[in-house]
Point group: C2
Chain length 220, copies 2
């Protein structure tokens, strides 16, 4: 990975050459395999992370063992939970797990604070990512509190399936996506299958009628 990775982050383009140099010189590029825990309750945040490749799933684990996916961080984005820890010292009940092999830029805390002090553009960059995560969280609250499971499940299937309509997940994993119980997902999937919208095999969902799922997700 050449040091011109910074071009991946258009919001960092307005930084002066000196500021850009500060980042690229001090930052380390790290590679993580899939299924690695990036952060978790109790772990201190050491670095400001900018994702280059891959995705990180951020989810909340509750006291009674249930889980819900909050959002995903993809290439070109920053990992806000660690940033929040960096800046406040608080820790969160959320954990981050790589879903694919991940390449990321780790900016040391000192360099991060230096940049926050020097560059208004860098501050804007950090805050705008912060703001989108808050938007994501508000969206999760809205969905969990007010939307029907079948609608949310349909939407998730549309979001997660690949170009061929295939998605390698278990019902349990889909249940975590929505913060519900596995049986609930199984029953809705079966109903979708009965309607001919998808095919189910162990660990795999194959969406065959995207249109119908879209209609349900849109609330008709």
């Amino acid at each position: 990975m050449p040091p011109d990775w910074i071009t991946r982050f258009p919001e960092l383009a307005p930084l002066t050459p000196a500021e850009q140099k500060l980042i690229t010189e001090r930052a380390q590029i790290v590679s993580l395999p899939a299924q690695t825990t990036v952060f978790a309750p109790g772990l201190p945040a050491e670095n400001f992370l900018l994702l280059l490749e891959g995705t990180v799933r951020v989810q909340q684990v509750s006291a009674n063992g249930r889980e819900i996916v909050l959002y995903r961080v993809a290439g070109g984005e920053s990992c806000i939970m660690t940033t929040a820890c960096l800046l406040s010292g608080d820790t969160y009940n959320a954990e981050g797990v790589t879903e694919t092999p991940v390449k990321a830029v780790a900016v040391p805390k000192a360099t991060f604070e230096d940049l926050m002090a020097r560059s208004a553009d860098f501050r804007r960059f950090v805050f705008s990512h912060y703001a989108s995560r808050i938007t994501d969280l508000l969206h999760v609250v809205e969905e969990v509190a007010f939307e029907r499971i079948d609608k949310r499940l349909a939407q998730r299937l549309l979001d997660l399936t690949n170009a061929e309509g295939r998605l390698g997940v278990t019902h349990q994993e889909l249940a975590v996506e929505l913060g519900t119980a596995r049986e609930v997902v199984s029953r809705h999937l079966k109903e979708f299958q009965r309607r001919g919208w998808l095919a189910l095999t162990r660990g795999l969902v194959h969406v065959t009628d995207r249109r119908s799922l879209e209609r349900l997700a849109a609330g008709d």
Copy 2:
């Protein structure tokens, strides 16, 4: 209100006298009556708000008309949703309403950005408030997704009642607190009353057995 309001915010004490002067000179103290909308979807954020007295309730309104309270901002805290708008330009689906008469300090956007540039302590102050709001939102997600209504209702009653155990709210307002339906709240309240934990009159809940509500809220 004398200009030494800044002593209400211990995190701002480390600022240099010049920086403190910058805030106190540029900022305006505003008074708002109860039930005023401080911010809402579509309204641009003009100022960075620091609350001196009173409380602001932040709630989300969903497309289908239902609502849920996200958190409250009290004296000595900053209003992060407006800050987020300030810094990112995004708008949120959340709205803020004063619950009591409110006195707040409004720091103009330009002064806010100036301070963000100059003072590491001010940045820490802003970010730590940001972080606590994210924690609040995570808590809401956890409760809505995983906790039982009776437990959440008991907890809310304990949080909201005054020293004498009285709380002037309608069942509908309690439903908004929890993001549920009025009938659900009515039925649980009636059951609490049947158990002798509280007394109900129109628009008023009077908690008489705090201990039992605490046991339920704790999950026994």
